[in-house]
Amino acid sequence: MIFLYIGLPLIVAAVLPLVGKVSKKVLPDVLANGVFLFLFAYAVTGARPLLAGGALRQTFTWFGEPLGIQIAVDGFSLFLLTVIALVSACVGLYSISYMEHYGSKANYYALLLMMIVGMNGLVLVTDLFQIYIFMEVAAVASYALVAFGREHAELEAAFKYLMLSVVASAAVLLAIALLFGLTGSLSFAAVGEGLRRLDDKIAAGIASALFLLGFGLKAALVPFHAWLPDAHPSAPAPISAILSGLLIKVSGVYAMTRVFFHVFGLTPALSEVLMWLGAVSIVVAALLALAQKDMKRMLAYSSISQVGYVVLGLGIGTPLGIAGGLFHLLNHAVAKSLLFLNSGSVQQATGTRDLDEMGGLAKRMPITATTNLIGSLSISGVPPLGGFWSKLLIIMALVQARQPALAVIAVLASVLTLWYYLIIQRKAFFGKLNARWAEVKEAPFWMSAATVILAVLCLALGLFFSSVVSTWIQPAADGLAKGMGM
């Protein structure tokens, strides 16, 4: 019942506003978190055996008549479904305490669930136009979530985000129209087949340029990154975690990879473009991150940089590179959600995001400080944490593919990453306790619980990396390399 990934959150979101009339807080908390935990449990236990016989396709019938609903799952989509379920489950737990003071929780969870519907749907579809629809489902919900606090900065960020995101959708849709005109169909397999028969370099080039613009904007790759450092920090912390940890990866990286690998086929030129886009994003965003004073803004720039690593790894196109890219996607999703959640805890405790005003918070918030350190080290690639292994895989793949220049860039940029994460750690948590924060308390139970779970995951991904790679990453990489077999 893979369709549950779309259907269940959709139905629960639809009833939540009604439930919210009866019980303002408890029931929405229970229902939404129940959905997240159920989807996660199902992704880990029940869904894997479905794939035993290779990629799975499902069609549905309604009273004996076939319906036009077709979804497909291969290792790659299942991997993404699991990552989405994992991060959203932790974010759901965190929201129980964090969203208390924002009001109208039912509405918040309804929007969050719609974002999950959009992302899950995007991962499961087999048709170009449906990529667009589900991308918009997630996007419309995310505009409202970025602006959820309705303060000036939040509204401004949401508006800028909306403007650029709509341009991205338009570019994607124009590319889809072009491919529809060229090949006369919309499903991945048929369009891919048609493009191979046509073998038309110009038309395929225009379409891939439009896709690159659209998905590049959604994934916030440099030079299409301008909206992200505004939008992600302005949102409430759990939403920043979802946006940075999931949304840019699903509606940017996943959609881009699916289209380029399974519809166009990865040509050497395209692979080169992707690798350089990734490398430029890594370096430029890391340098910009160094200059930030706002904790969440620094994290947002770091997201651009780390997504650069993912795109770089996937762009290599070799099995090792794909595995490295996907593993880094997982590591970054876990660690960056952790860091954004921690920034939320700090902001709630102190009321500021300015790094210069903090200091010595480790004494008052030991759990937050420790988990933050683990997340930072994982993202910057310090052994034996998860991020180290994924960056190592990417760098090895670059050396294997004879791209020494890019390999050097990847290594040097990870030093930069470590540098700016240590700035956060030193300015916010270490050193002498600023007298202003003498009364600061550790984050409430659910917030700490969510961050501890994520920190443990960061450790586990590093310590058990070989089994993680063989059970989760390898099937996903195989799925990417093979195509969906349709």
Binding site: I133, H152, K160, L173, L174, A177, G181, P229
Partner: protein, 102 residues
């Protein structure tokens, strides 16, 4: 049929170009959003014309209807955002939106 298809695409591209120009130069928030609407018109023209040229008009029609539904939701959200921004700034000028920088 190719020449017909490209003729329609020519007009669709014109609409998208006008919309992009508005996004780059306009200062009024509502004007910016009208620019987005113009881009949307170009896209729906491109979609339907493609179906028309391929003889797949029924399919294209259902795509365009879905697109219009998506667009309505987008417009509603964006206009709600604009009304909220206006409550803070008492203006529709995009130059007043300068809190976020760096």
């Amino acid at each position: 049929m190719n020449s017909h298809w490209l003729l329609y695409l020519f007009f669709a591209a014109g609409l998208v170009g006008i919309g992009l120009y508005a996004l780059l130069t306009m200062r009024n928030l509502i004007k910016l959003f009208i620019g987005i609407e113009v881009i949307g018109k170009g896209v729906s023209l491109a979609l339907l014309a493609t179906g028309f040229a391929k003889g797949n008009i029924l399919l294209a029609q259902s795509l365009v209807i879905t697109f219009i539904v998506v667009e309505v939701c987008l417009v509603a959200t964006a206009l709600a955002l604009i009304v909220n921004i206006n409550r803070h700034t008492k203006s529709l000028d995009v130059r007043k939106l300068t809190q976020l920088k760096g």
